[in-house]
């Protein structure tokens, strides 16, 4: 889990600048696009099935006790305790959470925990994106700010998440004004935002600076100031850089939420559930997988939400062409 304190931070996803060929008429006509979409969906589903097949195949032919040289495990054990059948994992979802007669179903518990974590991650994402955009704007406007702030932004991501989690919790506990009381989930959201703001600030800065001199001078020749240039040129031009940054931020917010739930000890979320259920693997091999499916679902929903956002601003992702 500590490895997740430094998530993938590559933001150099540069938008496609190709498209030198001359095209007439609409090149995004419906039919070939729909066929391509279907093919993508089928291939994607096939990829998931393939992972399942590989799992079951190894379970079938792999050594029961695994294979190890000394303490070094080269091949994992394939017995039902270590590697339950995929069917077992899903069956477990449809069974009651505990042995108690009034227990809710496992899937219900997972959905509840996932919804809670997703909510916290979403709050963290929104805070992180806002802060990231603001920092990018300030850095774009003032070159000195860029020199002064950028190193700190990069440095901020080298601090391990588990080191700051208890600090945030302790500081948060001291915050109280009026009726407002800082709650533990806010600390988790704050930590999620701490991971989310980074790709946004870097990506947005790169995007805001992406218009070439040609365009900037054109706006100067129009005699308009920084704000108009910002809204009519820099912000639209930054969209192709911003979308991957927002996706990274969504992934980071989810990871940050789950890890921070564990480090802070927040109950009700999927992170806590993962830890709690991990202990049950001995007698109930399907159980630890249930919250893992929940975590995967959160990630997919977060990525999907940004995907929908990307569809709304599709026109800003058109490739630029050279004359």
């Amino acid at each position: 889990m500590t490895a997740s304190t430094t998530p993938t931070m590559r933001v150099e996803t540069v938008p496609h600048s190709g498209g030198k060929t001359r095209r007439f008429g609409s090149r995004r006509s419906a039919r070939p696009g729909r066929a391509a979409a279907w093919r993508r969906a089928i291939l994607g589903a096939l990829g998931i099935v393939l992972v399942g097949v590989a799992w079951e195949l190894y379970k079938l032919i792999g050594p029961e006790k695994g294979f190890a040289i000394g303490d070094l495990i080269l091949l994992p054990r394939t017995n039902d305790m270590s590697m339950p059948h995929i069917a077992t994992m899903f069956e477990r979802l449809a069974e009651p959470l505990t042995g108690a007669s009034n227990s809710i179903m496992m899937w219900q518990a997972v959905v509840d925990a996932s919804a809670f974590s997703l909510y916290v991650a979403a709050v963290g994402w929104i805070v992180g994106v806002s802060v990231g955009l603001l920092l990018a704007l300030i850095m774009q406007r003032f070159r000195t700010a860029q020199s002064a702030v950028l190193p700190w932004i990069i440095l901020s991501q080298t601090v391990p998440l588990i080191a700051i989690a208890p600090l945030v919790r302790r500081w948060g506990a001291q915050i109280q004004f009026g009726d407002f009381v800082w709650e533990n989930w806010m600390s988790v959201a704050l930590i999620a935002s701490y991971l989310a703001f980074f790709p946004v600030s870097i990506g947005a800065l790169q995007g805001l600076n992406s218009p070439d001199t040609n365009h900037v001078e054109l706006f100067r020749s129009f005699g308009v100031g920084w704000w108009k240039t910002l809204f009519r040129l820099r912000v639209p031009a930054s969209i192709p850089y911003l979308i991957p940054a927002l996706q990274l931020a969504a992934a980071n917010a989810v990871i940050g939420t789950i890890v921070a739930e564990v480090s802070i000890g927040l109950k009700g979320g999927i992170g806590r559930m993962v830890i709690e259920f991990a202990g049950a693997a001995g007698g109930d091999p399907g159980k630890p997988w249930a919250p893992i499916f929940g975590a995967v679902a959160i990630g997919l929903i977060a990525a999907g939400a940004v995907g929908v956002l990307a569809l709304l601003v599709r026109r800003y992702r058109r490739g630029e062409t050279n004359a």
Partner: protein, 292 residues
């Protein structure tokens, strides 16, 4: 005391503006007096880009700037556009400072790259300067329809730039430069990236457009036939430091329209060779492009 001084200066500048306005009506499009531009190079070294430029562009006049690359012809155009500031001399555009002319939108500009915004349709690109200056929607649509017709792209208003050929994109850029009906057009090798056939076609179109709008044009190019075909006067610059070596009057008889058969006329050929003589080794016989 200081307060009174302040007031008096304000009044002075007001009267100045009035006299400027009076002058502006008959002031030439561009007037450069002893204009020079020095760039600060590395380690305090200075590069003299332009020196002693004296040039007047009358209203409605088409002037081509020609010279080898690095002679400062683009720099001169950028000074007029107030994208750079001269380091010496005096430059006025319609009797005003270059900065004031830029803020007043007295000129339209087109670069070698069309520089269209890829997320805007052709029509929206043309309307960009109007929108930035808060022109109403109805008026904008009317103007862009006019301009689309002028540059022959009526059917392409709703297309995006990446669906157009290079020549068409450049025509959109010219339409955008014309959007606010400027009295001065600045063009920096606008056809430089086009193939020869498109280029000649575009030259014909530009000549036609200029005749129709009556705007003065400062046109930077390094093609001699292009300069001669389009311009009333061709200004030949020498490289480093950029100086005006000669100004060639292109005397097509009367106000003849610039059409393709002009390219075969004797005047065209004699003007081309005159410009060429000035470009290549004249009195000071420096082999060009091999300076230093």
């Amino acid at each position: 005391m200081t307060g009174q001084d302040g007031i008096s200066t304000v009044q002075d500048s007001k009267t100045d503006q009035k006299t400027d306005a009076a002058h502006a009506a008959d002031a030439p499009a561009v007037a450069a007096v002893n204009v020079g531009k020095v760039f600060d190079g590395k380690r305090g070294a200075q590069v003299v880009a332009l020196e002693d430029i004296n040039l007047t562009v009358a209203r409605g006049e088409f002037v081509s700037l020609i010279g080898p690359s690095g002679c400062g012809k683009s720099t001169l155009m950028r000074l007029i556009a107030d994208l750079d500031q001269p380091t010496s001399g005096e430059l006025t555009v319609f009797g005003k400072s270059a900065q004031q002319a830029r803020l007043d939108q007295d000129y339209g500009i087109a670069f070698q790259q069309a520089g269209l915004l890829p997320w805007r349709t052709v029509r929206q690109n043309i309307e960009l300067p109007l929108q930035l200056h808060k022109v109403g929607k109805a008026e904008r649509t009317e103007r862009s329809t006019e301009l689309l017709k002028l540059v022959g792209l009526t059917d392409f208003g709703d297309n995006f730039p990446d669906q157009l050929s290079g020549g068409m994109q450049q025509r959109v850029a010219i339409a955008r430069a014309l959007a606010e009906s400027p009295n001065l057009l600045l063009m920096d090798e606008p056809f430089g990236a086009l193939d020869e056939m498109t280029r000649e076609h575009m030259q014909g179109e530009l000549a036609h457009i200029c005749a129709e709008t009556g705007a003065a044009v400062v046109f930077v190019t390094h093609s001699i036939p292009e300069a001669v075909f389009l311009a009333d006067r061709v200004v030949v610059l020498s490289p480093r430091p950029g100086r005006i070596r000669a100004i060639v009057d292109v005397k097509f008889s009367g106000s003849v329209e610039r059409t393709e058969h002009l390219r075969e006329s004797d005047v065209f050929f004699s003007s081309v060779s005159e410009v060429r003589e000035h470009l290549h080794g004249s009195a000071d016989a420096n082999p060009l492009g091999v300076d230093n």
